[in-house]
């Protein structure tokens, strides 16, 4: 067996796995989205039936898709997700830029500790950390109590179960997803470049704007996509911290499936989410391929 054939043979495992566990499901999503819900196993209708004359008859329906387009709540969910994901991305970016830069420029001994400090929360339960914010943000929560106690406000602020809470929660959850790729990008900008710029008269801010940022720009874009894409479909944060005025794709899909037991509509929603995310996904692929240097 040659080396090439060895790799080829080994590659069948992941390729086959992806075909069955990723590609096939997408096809099934499409199939289910063309059914209607029913009380049976499985809870969606068949696509074909045989009529009296023995011929196959098309039984599929576009009901789920029609609802998606007609019912304004789904449009609101899409819009809500787009807005929230974008705001989350911006907030993460603003917080991550100084952090990632600081870690990248820190002395080597510190860097591991600082990085671990960013990664550590990521390794502890996501669910629990979001839940912690409930205690912080509720009317009797820590933030309100502190603000009331120090006299900054008179009545408790309504933060929990508003979109503001969702934004805070999402930013909190996705912060490490932005810090790490930004760090990886910044750390590759050699000190020599920055020192040369300083030597030629640039202030630190000018150096950042004219040298670092342009060099880091693909990494920054990748970091943004790494936050934006999963944030579009996030469920946990909007569900725990959001209120009645918050409607996003993740919660919409969950509710269709678990509350309404409407698998076809949930599938149609899922496919819509996938379609919306195709462009950002492709862009991320392009960026990562261009950047073939390992992280």
């Amino acid at each position: 067996m040659t080396a090439a054939r060895f790799v080829s043979t080994t590659a069948w495992l992941p390729l086959g796995w992806m075909a069955v566990f990723l590609l096939l499901p997408v096809a099934i999503l499409l199939r289910v989205s063309l059914s209607e819900p029913r009380f049976d196993q499985p809870p969606y209708t068949e696509l074909f039936a045989i009529d009296e004359t023995g011929h196959w008859v098309w039984e599929g329906s576009l009901q789920a898709w029609r609802w998606l387009f007609e019912d304004p709540t789904y449009r609101d969910a899409l819009l809500g997700s787009l807005v929230m994901a974008s705001l989350t991305t911006i907030a993460c970016l603003l917080l991550s830029l100084p952090m990632a830069w600081a870690i990248a420029r820190a002395p080597l001994a510190w860097r591991t500790a600082l990085l671990l400090a960013v990664i550590l929360p990521f390794w502890t339960s996501f669910l629990i950390r979001v839940y912690a914010w409930i205690s912080l943000l509720k009317p009797e929560g820590l933030i309100n109590t502190t603000l009331l106690g120090t006299g900054i406000i008179d009545t408790p602020l309504l933060i929990l179960h508003t979109n503001a809470a969702v934004l805070i929660g999402m930013t909190y959850a996705y912060l490490p997803f932005m810090v790490l790729p930004l760090y990886a990008t910044f750390v590759r900008i050699e000190d020599d470049l920055l020192q040369a710029a300083a030597d030629l008269g640039a202030t630190p801010w000018q150096t950042f704007l004219r040298i670092s940022l342009p060099l880091a720009w693909p990494g920054v874009l990748a970091g943004c996509l790494l936050v934006f894409i999963p944030a579009m479909g996030d469920f946990v944060v909007p569900d725990l911290l959001g209120g009645p005025d918050n409607y996003m794709l993740g919660t919409a899909l969950w509710n269709e499936f678990f509350r309404n037991a409407d698998w076809p509509t949930a599938s149609a929603l899922a496919l819509t989410m996938l379609l919306v995310l195709l462009a950002p996904l492709a862009l991320l692929q392009r960026l990562q391929r261009r950047d073939e240097v390992p992280a």
Binding site: A3, R5, F6, V7, S8, T10, A11, L13, P14, L15, W17, F21, L22, L23, P25, I28, P42, L95, S96, P98, M99, R105, T112, L116, A117, L120, P121, W123, T124, S125, L127, I128, R129, Y131, S135, L136, G141, L142, V179, D191, L194, Q195, P204, W205, T207, I229, G233, D234, V236, L249, G250, F257, F258, S267, A270, M273, L277, L281, P294, A295
Partner: protein, 274 residues
């Protein structure tokens, strides 16, 4: 370094960075504090107490769910490491359409929203049961399979990164010295990427332990995982046992990460004699 900011710019920079870290850790610190709070209420400090920890031990639902989650995590992490290893190898050594497909698939798995993955996996399992009779019903098997799939993408990334750093002539030397390609990979390359495999396993383990959404979609009656149980109790109202559980998890993870880092530091010291 000559490029450090000075004066007010530097102060602002430091403030921003500190705020970032504080933002990350304040909720965690609070959880730990509340777990020892004798009072149920967040705003009232009822004195130091470990009652919530004992309550944890008395909570059979939580404990069985935790045990289930550990089982699923161990199985899916171990299998994911194998699939991820094969995927990482393929991503580095293949070319053309197959590599592009593999990159796109694994790349998407890494960022796709959980609800999307959860629903599609469930539909897959439902249909597989229809066509093949397996998996029979939804339970720990389906959750393990779903976690396996998701986690293998993370392992693949870690393995790929490490493989790219390796000197390719080492495996070539093994082949030159008489090892068949498979032997060369197994005897020479795999031992050299062991740290990456361990890191990948840990990543997969954590992912599985922590997953709520995918597990909710693909699990069945009587097979709730720990996150699912926590989620339902949280929805009903703040339960202080969860704080205790959270603190335990945080302590375990912190211990694990720090000892891993320390071990890594010890191993990579150049004067280490074996």
């Amino acid at each position: 370094m000559t490029t450090r900011a000075r004066g007010p710019a530097r102060a602002g920079f430091i403030t921003a960075v500190s705020f970032g870290y504080a933002f990350l850790y304040v909720p965690i610190v609070l959880l730990v504090i509340y777990s020892f709070n004798d009072s149920r209420l967040v705003t009232v400090w009822g004195g130091f107490s470990t009652r919530w920890y004992s309550a944890l031990l008395d909570n059979p639902v939580l404990l069985t769910a935790a045990w289930r989650s550990l089982q699923v995590a161990t199985i899916s992490a171990s299998l994911a490491t194998l699939v991820g290893l094969a995927a990482g190898l393929a991503l580095v050594r293949l070319s053309g359409l197959r590599r592009a497909l593999l990159m796109a698939s694994f790349g998407s798995l890494l960022v796709m929203p959980d609800v999307l993955i959860g629903l599609s996996m469930l539909l897959l399992f439902v249909n597989l049961e229809q066509w093949l009779g397996w998996p029979a019903g939804r339970g720990l098997t389906t959750v393990s399979l779903a976690h396996l799939t998701l986690a293998s993408a993370y392992v693949a990334v870690v393995v790929r990164a490490r493989l790219l750093q390796l000197d390719t002539s080492i495996e070539e030397a093994a082949r030159d010295l008489g090892a068949r390609p498979g032997q060369a990979f197994w005897l020479v390359t795999v031992p050299l990427i062991k740290p990456a495999l361990i890191a990948g396993w840990l990543l997969a383990f954590t992912l599985s332990l922590d997953d709520l959404v995918v597990a909710s979609f693909v699990s069945g009656p009587g097979s709730s995982t720990l996150p699912m149980v926590i989620y339902s109790s949280v929805r009903l109202g703040v339960t202080p046992e969860v704080n205790a559980l959270a603190t335990l998890l945080i302590a375990a993870v912190a211990l694990g990460v720090i000892s891993a880092a320390w071990i890594h530091h010890m191993i990579s010291r150049p004067d280490t004699r074996r």
